[in-house]
């Protein structure tokens, strides 16, 4: 789950990115609209009343007390009105300019407090407070600007925001303001990005992406656990949980399809095994008759007849082969669980069996801990080990050592069977567990099923069987069983 290339993180990342992009753009649009509204509102509240006073003054005197601002922003006389209010500065000034202004005002206040404010501002570094880019016009009845009362000397831009006013005398005026420069947008945008709202947006997006990913990934993980169970434990009869297969979405469908596939595989395997079992079983009846017939022939030809002996030998081979195939096919239906048994007893039995056929064979048995017990199908494990031992007896010299060790390591039991023969070639090692593959140089005749049966038996027990050439010579079989 915590590897970052998993589907979980991919889904999480994608959803989080998309949703935070969408949410933040909505937020930005809303914020900038709100910004405009605020700007307009500020503009109206800050300037409307003052403009109306100006107009009254103008109508009374014929002239304005307030000078027109030069295009470079300088003024002949410092007006009362046109100082830009603080709340508007952020629309027109860069952060730097605003900071400077703030500093300047603080200094002024400080001087005012200390010295009554009667000092002229120092020459150096003093910037006059910025003037808002506004225009006040007298408007004729058709709505055309006819006379500028105050404001910048340059003409108002075409897209300037206009506020129509009517004086007490009924004369129409128009107050215009330049829209905030788009350059400022970038700065404001950046401030939005690091605002608390934006962090909340990202957080909400992250939480929803997390929930969505969990919802998507959880059933997939469950399904994959289920598949693992089928594959690794060889338990074809397990089916997905009802909760998973009864989902009405695509995942539920996938689960159902999967169960059907498992059904199909199980049925196919079962029928194949049934067939194999039936065939071998059916072969046994004629086999038994054949053997008795061979016995009869021997009776009539006399005990020493080589012909009868040969027939008998072939009969036994055939019988042995059928028995092996049968036991191979029966493994699939064998139970994994069994009664508790002592590993030591099993090993004793194996050793006594092997010393029956090769009394001279040196064997080294080690069990750690000595009292190791298992709750498994004893027969399956015995068969696997017996086949391994049988192979070792067949392919290694009779006086070479055979080592059989069992050790509990954490949650698993490791059984090692190592011979001190010549080992086997890499080619054969690869094919060791393939049915009907036989080694060369052994004595006695095998059917090439022993190791396949051994592996299948161990797999039925939920374990693994591996073969490798020991670095110091000899073949080593390792059985790992969950305990």
């Amino acid at each position: 789950m915590w590897r970052f290339n998993t589907l979980f993180w991919k889904i999480f990342g994608t959803i989080w990115l998309i949703s935070s992009l969408a949410m933040s753009s909505v937020f930005l649009v809303l914020a900038s609209r709100d910004d405009q509204d605020r700007w307009r509102h500020l503009f109206e509240t800050q300037f409307k009343d003052q403009a109306l006073e100006l107009i009254r003054d103008y109508e009374a005197n014929g002239t304005s007390r307030n000078p027109v601002v030069e295009p470079d922003g300088s003024m002949i006389e410092q007006p009362f009105l046109w100082e830009m209010p603080d709340r508007l500065t952020r629309f027109y000034l860069t952060r730097e300019e605003r900071n400077r202004l703030e500093r300047q005002r603080r200094e002024e206040r400080w001087r005012d407090d200390r010295e009554g404010g009667r000092f002229p501002p120092p020459d150096h570094g003093y910037n006059p407070p910025p003037k808002p880019p506004i225009w006040l016009y007298q408007v004729d009845s058709t709505g055309v600007n006819i006379n500028q009362i105050t404001g910048h000397r340059r003409p108002a831009p075409l897209d300037a925001f206009a506020l129509d006013l009517t004086s007490d005398s009924g004369q129409a005026y128009r107050l215009m303001v330049e829209l905030p420069p788009p350059l400022r947008h970038k700065e404001r945008f950046a401030s939005y990005l690091f605002s608390i709202q934006m962090i909340m947006v990202m957080g909400v997006a992250a939480i929803s992406a997390l929930i969505l990913s969990f919802m998507l990934i959880r059933p997939i993980r469950q399904l994959s656990e289920h598949v693992k169970q089928i594959y690794h434990q060889g338990d074809l009869s397990t089916r997905a949980s009802r909760k998973l297969s009864q989902r009405r979405d695509e995942l539920g469908e996938l689960t159902r399809e999967f169960d059907q596939m498992a059904d199909y595989v199980e049925r196919t395997l079962q029928s194949q095994q049934r067939l194999l079992q039936d065939v071998s079983h059916e072969l046994r009846a004629p086999m038994a008759r054949l053997q008795v017939s061979a016995g009869l022939a021997e009776q009539q030809l006399g005990e020493g007849s080589t012909l009868a002996q040969r027939i008998n030998r072939e009969c036994e081979r055939l019988d042995g082969l059928i028995a092996e195939i049968l036991s191979f096919s029966r493994l699939e239906s064998a139970q994994k669980e069994g009664d508790r048994f002592a590993v030591k007893e099993l090993f004793d039995e194996l050793v006594s069996d092997l010393s029956f056929s090769q009394p001279e064979r040196p064997v080294n048995v080690q069990i750690e801990p000595e009292t190791l017990h298992l709750n498994l199908n004893r027969d399956l494990l015995a068969r696997a080990l017996r086949n391994g031992i049988g192979n070792a007896l067949k392919y290694t010299p009779e006086d070479s050592l055979l080592e059989l060790t069992a050790r509990q390591q954490g949650g698993e039991l490791l059984i090692r069977l190592r011979d001190h023969g010549e080992g086997i070639s890499d080619d054969l090692l690869k094919e060791l567990f393939t049915p009907f593959v036989r080694g060369t140089g052994g004595h006695g005749d095998g059917y090439g099923l022993g190791m396949s049966i051994a592996r299948r038996a161990v797999e039925r027990l939920g374990g693994t069987l591996k073969a490798e050439n020991h670095p110091e010579g000899g073949l080593q079989l390792s059985v790992r069983l969950p305990v």
Partner: protein, 244 residues
């Protein structure tokens, strides 16, 4: 030659007729039964020296038949089991079969087993390992080979003939390790074969049957028959242990 009568119980009629032919040539009189019902009828109407019983039969299986007739009918039984059916084999021996043979089998092998079982049933047991005429008494445990009577402190012990022999030989040679080969030869009158568990099953049955009589205070039983790893079995005792 001998006039011993054998009963073959197997559902394969052809196999039965072939075996009849084979065993007749060896001097036995052979009857066949093709299912459990017929076998029971034949057993009631005729007395047989031995029964060869196939475990795998449709309807009532050989095991069930064995269960029905034991311990009422004591004739020796050799059972035929499918190869690799170790469980059938052990169950069969536990239910009182005297020996087993994998099927399909070499008829010569079957003949040898029949002879071995019959031989050990006959009064003239082979010289090797012959049991003494006097009762064997160790502590509370007493066996009388003449009457085939086993008792623990006057309580009758139910043993099959093979189990009786196993115990008798072990007691006779108490304190001495008897190998599986020896026991197989003495008790089953044949040689030990590879993966042969017949003796082990008999020994474990005897142990089980003795256990309740020799329970110690802690609920554990005194183990009189011990396994000597890689060598065989030994009857260990001290007279006061075997008090019953």
């Amino acid at each position: 030659m001998s006039n011993e009568r054998l009963l073959l119980v197997d559902d394969d009629k052809e196999l039965c007729s072939l075996l009849t032919e084979y065993l007749s040539a060896e001097g036995y009189r052979v009857d066949s039964a093709y299912n459990a019902q017929q076998a029971l009828e034949k057993l009631q109407s005729q007395s047989y020296s031995l029964m060869v019983l196939d475990i795998m039969m449709p309807g009532t299986t050989g095991l069930e038949l064995l269960q029905q007739i034991r311990p009422r009918i004591t004739l020796p039984v050799i059972m035929l089991t499918g190869r690799g059916d170790e469980i059938d084999r052990i169950l069969g021996l536990e239910m009182g079969a005297d020996d087993y043979l994998g099927k399909p089998c070499n008829p010569r092998e079957l003949l040898a087993r029949i002879r071995a079982v019959l031989r050990r049933m006959s009064p003239q047991a082979p010289v090797e390992g012959r049991l003494p005429e006097q009762p064997l008494v160790i502590g509370a445990l007493s066996l009388n080979p003449a009457t085939r009577d086993a008792r623990v402190a006057d309580q009758l012990l139910e043993l099959t003939s093979a189990e009786f022999n196993v115990l008798a030989y072990l007691m006779q040679h108490a304190g001495q390790v008897l190998s599986k080969e020896q026991l197989t030869r003495w008790v089953l009158h044949r040689d030990l074969t590879a993966y042969d568990r017949a003796i082990d099953v008999h020994v474990s049955r005897v142990r089980q049957k003795l256990a309740p009589y020799f329970e110690q205070a802690g609920g554990e039983s005194v183990e009189m028959i011990k396994t000597v790893r890689g060598q065989g079995y030994i009857f260990v005792y001290t007279a006061d242990q075997v008090q019953g």
